[in-house]
Symmetry: C2
Subunit: 549 residues, 2 copies
Amino acid sequence: MNYNYVIGLDYGTDSVRAVLMDTAGGKELASSVFYYPRWAEGKYCDAKKQQFRQHPLDYIEGVTATIQAVLAKAGPEAARYVRGISVDTTGSTPVAVDETGTPLALRPGFEQDPNAMFVLWKDHTSIQEAARINEVAALQKINYLQYVGGIYSTEWFWAKLLHVLRTDEHIRPYIYSWVEHCDWIPFLLTGGDNLKDLKRGVCSAGHKSLYAVEFGGLPPNSFFTEIDPLLDGYTDRLFDRTYTAEEPVGTLSKAWAEKLGLSTDVVVGIGAFDCHMGAVGAEIEPYMLSKIIGTSTCDIMVVPEAEMKDILVSGICGQVPGSVIPGMVGLEAGQSAFGDVYAWFKDLLLWPAKNMDLQPEQLEKLEKDLLTELSNEAGKREVLENSVLAVDWLNGRRTPDANQALTAAISGLHLGTDAPEIFRALVEATCFGARAIVERFVSEGIPVKGLIAMGGVAQKSAFIMQTMADVIGMPIKVHRSEQTCATGAAMFAATAAGIFSKVEDAMAAMGQGFDEPYTPDAAKHALYNTRYARYKSLGGWVEEQRSRH
Amino acid sequence: MNYNYVIGLDYGTDSVRAVLMDTAGGKELASSVFYYPRWAEGKYCDAKKQQFRQHPLDYIEGVTATIQAVLAKAGPEAARYVRGISVDTTGSTPVAVDETGTPLALRPGFEQDPNAMFVLWKDHTSIQEAARINEVAALQKINYLQYVGGIYSTEWFWAKLLHVLRTDEHIRPYIYSWVEHCDWIPFLLTGGDNLKDLKRGVCSAGHKSLYAVEFGGLPPNSFFTEIDPLLDGYTDRLFDRTYTAEEPVGTLSKAWAEKLGLSTDVVVGIGAFDCHMGAVGAEIEPYMLSKIIGTSTCDIMVVPEAEMKDILVSGICGQVPGSVIPGMVGLEAGQSAFGDVYAWFKDLLLWPAKNMDLQPEQLEKLEKDLLTELSNEAGKREVLENSVLAVDWLNGRRTPDANQALTAAISGLHLGTDAPEIFRALVEATCFGARAIVERFVSEGIPVKGLIAMGGVAQKSAFIMQTMADVIGMPIKVHRSEQTCATGAAMFAATAAGIFSKVEDAMAAMGQGFDEPYTPDAAKHALYNTRYARYKSLGGWVEEQRSRH
């Protein structure tokens, strides 16, 4: 028999995962996870400065480890049936490269320099640079931010490039150009050695780099030099055309084919961001908001291009034709912290255990079970109008209306308030954050039919998902696949390799469907309406303080 | 030789302490502490409802245990030199009594009934009753709240009585009258068995029961029946005259003299609240704000009566001629939670250890050292304009402008915020709370020259005291005595027993003086001015929410 297998490679915040799938029926044949070793050690990061960098070697080692592992698990025959590999990554996670397209941290002398590494999506060191971009954009005749929600974020491509250029004179002369993680991995696997050949996906280009067909590509060099003369010339060294994830980059290079034990016929597809491919893996359909819920959320909606005429959605992370599914506008939004909110609270509560010489086995036990215990206990608590109420902006606010300088707040505390009560408020606050995004789509003329949820939090916590349904007042379908991003990448790999002619066909053939939906409780929804108004009021106070100071 | 010894008996929230002092020089000969056993077990309390009750047996057992202990420690000769005993207690901490002046919890059938026990100062079950008192007071021709700051508090005498009457039909017929803890202990020790003989101190009467010479005693029965017909007749069964703490109640009853091994010649003085006697123990002088800083704070100021003409200070806990020192108006204010704010945070952080089967010896270690660790670490953190900022109303707000329904809030949180950072903000918030009281005195026409601090927090934490000096911008003198309340009670005992003719003489003879003062840092004070404005803004948000809902 002849099989058509594909590999989806999904780069998350802490690890990379490969899944090997059969394109007939979508069966997952094997999967493997590789945790970034340098990242796990906390290297190159400084949480206080919100600096988060990742070394390219963490990524490269991850390709080899995971693909070799899935092939080994699937048996000796599997390798020869592999037809395609596609990649998704976090984003905007760009890196400084030289003319060969090599990240500078791979060059001698820069191996330990955080500015020569990938600037992870959640790195917030470039707050000032984003502010400068917004300031200059406001003076232009053409609104270059119109397709990215009207506000350029600290978390994005140009702000990060400018921050590195401004703050590191030493590295500046070596930075030839700037590449997103999702565009670099396919370039690497296909043996690229000249930056001119590096194909950029429309997903990263449109959502983060200000690329738009309407502008004829990127905004002009004059716009960027007005922001800062240090940006002079970059547009020329970047790109003027883009590709959708249905298209191939090329085939595996000889070196990589040998290392992985695969054929040089294996097609490597155009890369995209994790949530975009994840939305496909979770069988997105028009007007359903697809939420990948992990440390942060990435929210995706697709609307047929014809139905998006003249609609510009303000305050989201972009609307880009073809960024998710060709023929549809992909709209991206998201919450800067979701699971990270809970992880923060867990860390807070573990401060004594971590800083006061607790026995390691005792600490391990607390670490392992704390969130479950808090969640169980919080689920039993009654919510009243005056219960503890929080705002969820612990990592700033991505959408609606990006503002990474915003911070979180907790109110309604009294001497009887205990940890589960605060945890409950934090869960509710993250759901309020989700509601704010839904309300923004609706107020901008894009109806929301319901939610599709996926990711670790969605599958593990019925308490959080039910709270979200009650807070938003809409049903939530949780996708069965535990790895929607890798699955989506596999669906794109199958399309890029020509097994399907369009990705919708891959979705139909390979999708795994949904569990029973969470449906909202009307009485609770009414109470949450009142509390949501208070959330907006407290959030308004936080915004007002920030705009004053 | 002939010595004149006195005993000061200081009833705090968790324990009672006796000190035996020599009136010549004020040397402390012995001291002893007794922790209330029922209270330590958490009996009769419900923190979620903010119900805090104490059993009279905890108090009675404490007299015997501590006085016997100090006499034993001071040697066989000591008892015969004891001339007087005076008592201070928390307050308002009243109890329901029968016609004999016996607290109902000492009567068969009521031994386990929280409503038959002392309603501790920090019990906040009577929020609705305080609101009703304020509502009715606003309709009167005479403002019966003018000497208690204009707002009647949940924490006070009449609100607590009314709450018990309203919510407990069973006990209602047995409540003959209502007595403060500080007035009941001297009555007990002098063998009182008829409520008519119970002498009330002007301190509790003026600050909590609405007694004023200007009203000819308590407000009229008609005022109370308008509040609630359930209050009918209580004024008649309470009192129409009061005494200062310089005066004696009587001498030790035979039974108590025998039990304690003392003479029936020992004078028992009029009782008062802990902070009033504590201010004397800490050598208060006019226009210095004396702060006892423990779980909460009690702030006392004295102003010569002649200089207080026509001044009514709004939003504090009362201004009562003679309540601290005869001839001066005693002004009381305070923060509902101070050390309790830190204890709350400690408890919050220990939730995992307490709820997840940590080994007892590990938990004990964390319990013991956590606040010290947090304080050490917080002291190293730099304060910036946008650092974490909190409002301290975890137990409502006592002054300025009592409102026990208010709650605390914490803002400026981000993923890098750790426990010491929040602890630092809580310390700062409690100091902002202290500053708000100073500012109120000043804005009402009473200059504040500086602060005198005493109590556990003042003596143990240089970090907190320096923060307070920087926040308020005034020097703070910490009194040397570790037991200013008990010392103050001993000074009053010496005066009541006739060893001194007025308490100022006792202060001069027995006072221990001050350590080097904390002086404010001008640059830090300037930064705290900015942050204090933000504290008021966040507090304003909390108040606005409460008034709406």
